[in-house]
């Protein structure tokens, strides 16, 4: 009976049953979701394209406008500078946090708590208004007359305040990311370095940091992307970065939405460009992944090969 059905199916398709492709099951839900998504997509697109209030011609006009591009450059500068400085400071904080000397670890802990626990926006405004707290900053030797005083307002211009605010905030987040990376390095690695007589700094540089990289890099990539968008906050200080540049234009022309779209498109393009090197870096560090030795098996306690003779 069975034999017969197999024979018949062969005849039906004219193809050897063993060579037929195996098709994935597609649920009704899948078909429905395709249809719904396409319809919604068409709806949104046609609305965006036909609504004259979007003013795509204005978007196109300002997309490469000089002051927008200058704003973009400043945004890139702020991102790179505060990210680089923040990472360095964060590394220092992470090392301090891991210190066996209690006050040093506590100091880093307090810093991280404060800077992660308050909004960046508040921190930025705070640094900008530092002169209210300390009208003059002086550099010199304490309890002597040697040194010079600087007017805080002159020192803390908008860009400096932006840089200081973003860097100090970023350092707290980077410290936590780096510390997490450190703790992912196995205890055995540190013992191996110790048993070779490596100094603390050497151990950090050659053993801990390289192995912590695979877990630090992806998180740092996210931070860069976050920072790129986060720089828009410094527009409140009047720094003419990307968003502020757009705002300055629409304050004049009242073309608010088109200019916000210009800024958004640039943010989008840049974050998409940034995610490429991040994935490359991730690949680069993947070869250092630690191979964990298999758990000890029950070993039969007989004379092993090559030993008994």
């Amino acid at each position: 009976m069975k034999q017969v059905t197999i024979e018949r199916s062969k005849v039906m398709s004219g193809l050897d049953s063993a060579l037929k492709p195996r098709l994935k099951r597609r649920s009704t839900f899948e078909y429905v979701s395709w249809v719904v998504c396409i319809l919604v997509g068409i709806g949104i697109l046609s609305s965006v394209a036909t609504n004259p209030n979007f003013k795509w011609d204005v978007v196109a006009k300002y997309f490469t406008h000089e002051s927008i591009l200058r704003g973009l450059m400043l945004t890139i500068f702020l991102t790179v500078a505060s990210m680089a400085l923040g990472t360095l400071l964060g590394l220092g904080l992470a090392i301090m946090r891991a210190s066996t000397i209690k006050p040093i670890a506590a100091l880093a802990g307090v810093y991280i708590t404060i800077f992660r626990g308050t909004p960046v926006l508040v921190q930025l405004i705070f640094w900008f208004n530092l002169s209210a707290l300390y009208p003059n900053l002086s550099i010199g030797i304490p309890f002597t007359d040697i040194g010079t005083a600087i007017d805080t307002n002159a020192l803390m211009g908008p860009i400096t305040a932006a840089l200081v605010g973003l860097t100090l905030n970023e350092a707290a987040y980077m410290a936590e990311i780096i510390r997490g990376g450190f703790s992912s390095v196995g205890k055995g690695q540190i013992e191996a370095a110790d048993s070779l007589g490596m100094s603390g700094a050497m151990k950090m540089r050659k053993v801990i940091i390289p192995q912590a990289m695979p877990s630090i890099i992806p998180a740092t990539g996210n931070q860069v992307i976050g920072m790129f968008k986060g720089t828009s906050l410094v527009s409140v200080l009047g720094v003419a970065e990307l968003l502020q540049s757009a705002q300055l234009i629409y304050a004049r022309t009242y073309e608010t939405i088109p200019l916000l779209i210009v800024a958004s498109l640039w943010y989008l393009v840049m974050t998409m460009l940034l995610s490429y090197p991040q994935s490359k870096l991730e690949q680069k560090y993947s070869h250092t992944s630690v191979r964990v030795p298999r758990r000890a098996r029950k070993v039969t306690l007989t004379a092993p090969e090559g030993i008994a003779r």
Partner: protein, 255 residues
């Protein structure tokens, strides 16, 4: 540096919280002696080994390695911890081979072997590379220098780890269950390398479950249980003719 290679311990005590792991342990190992430490798990044998290389600090007692107080210097009233640099210097004279190999995964086999001389002793890179190649060849891995640990089998990794310890030219080398994490068929290659080493006159202290190795290679054998050295003596003598009832019970179980 004076070659010594002796270990002398007297009344070593070590506790982890409320648990006393080493209870007044005495130990004397001569230069060039091959000593195996056996015992049930939790008997304190690994802790004793780790104390000898400073991975654990002893709470009290005398511990002299290579003739010097290890990790501390003695005054009339107390032992004071050595500054890190001097402790590191003492550690370079005591090699350690771990159960889980602990090779640096970010370095190739050759770089692992060179790590000690180049990074710690500031030795010449070219010379160290040459020495590393010789050491890798001596453990049968001359062609594997450019491989990363993840590309090596457990037995190969452990042999690289032995070569890494040897690169520092230590007077003493400690093995903490070097074959316990290996597949059974890889145990032999590691034990062979250790046996070669034993012929070269280096002091070796081996925590092991390999009774065959203990019988064939070791000069002396220590049986530990519950933080005490229960029995010690000539390896073959203890294995074939144990005096203490606890040793007899243990050996009956494992042999």
């Amino acid at each position: 540096m004076n070659a010594d290679g002796t270990i002398h311990a007297h009344k070593i005590r070590k506790s982890f919280g409320p648990k006393t792991v080493l209870k007044d342990v005495d130990l004397t190992i001569a230069s060039g002696e091959i000593c195996c430490i056996i015992g049930p798990s939790g008997s304190g044998k690994s802790t004793l080994l780790r104390c000898i290389n400073g991975l654990e600090t002893v709470d009290s007692g005398i511990l002299k390695v290579n003739g010097d107080d290890f990790g501390y210097y003695e005054t009339d009233t107390a032992y004071h911890a050595l500054p890190p640099k001097q402790l590191a210097l003492q550690r370079t004279r005591v090699g350690m081979v771990f159960q889980s190999f602990n090779l640096f995964p970010n370095m190739t086999a050759r770089e692992n072997v060179m790590a000690g001389p180049v990074l710690v002793k500031r030795a010449d890179k070219k010379q160290s590379a040459k020495q590393a190649q010789e050491l890798l060849t001596s453990v049968g891995l001359g062609a594997f220098g450019d491989r990363y640990p993840a590309e090596l089998s457990g037995g190969q990794q452990q042999r690289v780890a032995i070569a890494r310890s040897l690169a520092m030219n230590p007077e003493i080398i400690l093995f903490d269950e070097p074959t316990s994490a290996l597949d059974p068929e890889k145990v032999g290659e590691v034990l062979n390398v250790m046996q070669d080493l034993a012929r070269k006159g280096m002091t070796m202290v081996v925590v092991t479950h390999e009774m065959g190795f203990a019988r064939e290679v070791a000069d002396s054998l220590i049986f530990m249980d519950e933080g005490n050295v229960v029995e010690r003596g000539d390896a073959r003598e203890v294995l074939t003719n144990p005096k203490e009832p606890r040793t007899q019970a243990f050996l009956k179980q494992v042999l």
